[in-house]
Amino acid sequence: MFCWKYLAKQFLMRIDFSVISIGLKTWFLKEIMVIKKSYAPCKKFLVKMIISLACLSVLSLTSFHGAIKKGWAITERNPPSSWFINMNLFSRSAHSNLTCEVCHGTMKEDDKTHPDPKDPDFLRLEAKRIYDYSHCKTCHLQSYDRYLLGEHAKALKKEKESPNMKEGVKSEKRNAPTCGDCHSAHYEKSHLSKVKIGRKMTEICGSCHRAQKVTYLEDYHGKTAVHLGHEASAYCTDCHGAHNCISLKEKKTALLICQRCHPKAQERFAEFVIHPTIENGAKETKDNIEKRKKVAVIKTVSVIMFCLVVLIVSFFYGHSLLWLLRELHEKLRKH
């Protein structure tokens, strides 16, 4: 009869664990004595070598650690825009040379009054939702025009046209972003390095597009760009555009984008899946169905591979462990 319990019992009975632990100790002590004897002539030299090597490695590791802390720390997020201004932060920001009137001076012309303190909604409305960001256009004309062409502006238009939206009210669902949702008008700093901007944008875009952020960081582009600070790799805006945030579901537009870095890319190159995720409420369009199939294939293959790896590795580890125990047993019995 082939019985696991019987086998395990037999196996455990044959190993005397106290013998093993005592035997291991004597065996290791013996080995150490042999090593000590053979290295006795150059002992001093070896000790010096080991100490200097240890010092060197500690020094180099700490210097690397400094480099990491300096360059790779996740950039701090600006405090959200509210009705009050933190002047310490504002005076260090890119807009610190502007006076309040440059952006807020046209209040009366826009038929807006100062918020009434007796109003029950006083300070409860979201400042970002009320401010007219078309003022940004006077300086950032190109960015503003691009924004108007993009998906974010379309979503904002839809949101404003929908009947149950009141001005300035926080909606339960996600708000369509205006300038102020991505950029902090009061606290944004200028002249950041490309890597820093990239890390920041991954956080900011990812605060709404969560699944996309996760999948981007799992992709080779995101890993090298964000975690390893490789500038030549692609950040969010390198593919989707900085202000005209475009969807790349259409393969022809996607291919054009790919070809900016991979000039030899052909038609089917754009079928590569960077964000293997589909939102739950997404419409069953032709593109989505196709993508869902691809994602299913990729996930099945990875699950199969994972199971294979676990099976093979556990077999070989178990095999080696049994073998080690057996040989230890044999060796100790001889002593």
Binding site: F11, T224, H262, Q266, R268, F269, K294, S320, E327
Partner: protein, 242 residues
């Protein structure tokens, strides 16, 4: 005692080419694992330290490819050697003393596991035991599949002309899991079974010196001794004795 040892007759187990290839594969494989995993697990601090040590993600990727070319070069050299061995030395590539898998290996594995559990004796191994064959074939086949998926990731523009783009995703998945598998086996199981187990602690010297003695042959693979007696030769045909 020392004089006696010097007089003991030695036999050739590994030719100079095999020893050289073993060392080169060792270095190349370690380089591949180090660079590849530090790119894959780049969220970890140790990976970022390694990448900054190599000089950025681009350089680490470049080094990964250099190591890959070196390691695959070993496979090509080995295949050339096999052809040479077969055609010029008229050696046997599939005989009982070769690395070719045979039914006896499965029987050996079964008997060996019985031996682990204390229910049998050690099987009589031939020149290459079943775990040595597994080590060899895992590397030989693994290098080819890893090479293929690696080429997919190296030249995605070229390959996506012939296959859909999401095959690159599949190549990424296969490359990752096979890397984990081969590292988990080669950096743990291979050193333990070939070098660190009590029978041959601290290391197996024959893969670096090429030499072995009658005592070792009788202990580790007694089946070879009989075939050597039968053919009256010190080493397999075409052995480069250096």
């Amino acid at each position: 005692m020392v004089e006696n040892k010097a007089e003991e007759k030695t036999y050739w187990r590994f030719s100079v080419l095999h020893r050289f290839l073993h060392i080169v594969v060792m270095i190349g494989f370690t380089g591949l694992a180090l660079t590849g995993f530090s790119l894959k697990f780049s969220t970890q601090v140790w990976a970022q330290v390694v990448v900054s040590f190599f000089g950025g993600a681009a350089n680490t990727g470049y080094l990964h490819r250099v190591c890959a070319v070196i390691t695959y070069g070993c496979v090509v050299v080995h295949i050339l050697w096999l052809c040479y061995y077969k055609l010029v030395f008229k050696g046997s590539l599939t005989g009982p003393q070769s690395l070719f898998p045979r039914v006896k290996d499965i029987k050996d594995l079964y008997q060996h596991i019985r031996y682990f559990l204390g229910r049998g004796i050690l099987p009589k191994f031939n020149r290459f035991t079943y775990w040595e064959k597994i080590d060899y074939w895992a590397l030989f086949l693994g290098m080819n599949t890893m090479g293929l998926t690696g080429l997919f990731l190296w030249f995605p523009e070229f390959f996506s002309r012939y296959v859909p783009g999401y095959f690159i995703n599949l190549a990424q998945v296969l490359h990752l899991y096979e890397a984990i598998l081969s590292v988990a086996i080669k950096f743990v199981v291979h050193p333990v079974t070939a070098h660190l187990r009590p029978e041959i602690f601290p290391m197996e010297r024959s893969i670096f010196s090429g030499k072995t003695t009658k005592e070792e042959i009788m202990l580790k693979h007694p089946g070879e001794w009989e075939s050597m007696i039968a053919s009256a030769k010190d080493s397999p045909p075409g052995h480069l004795k250096i």
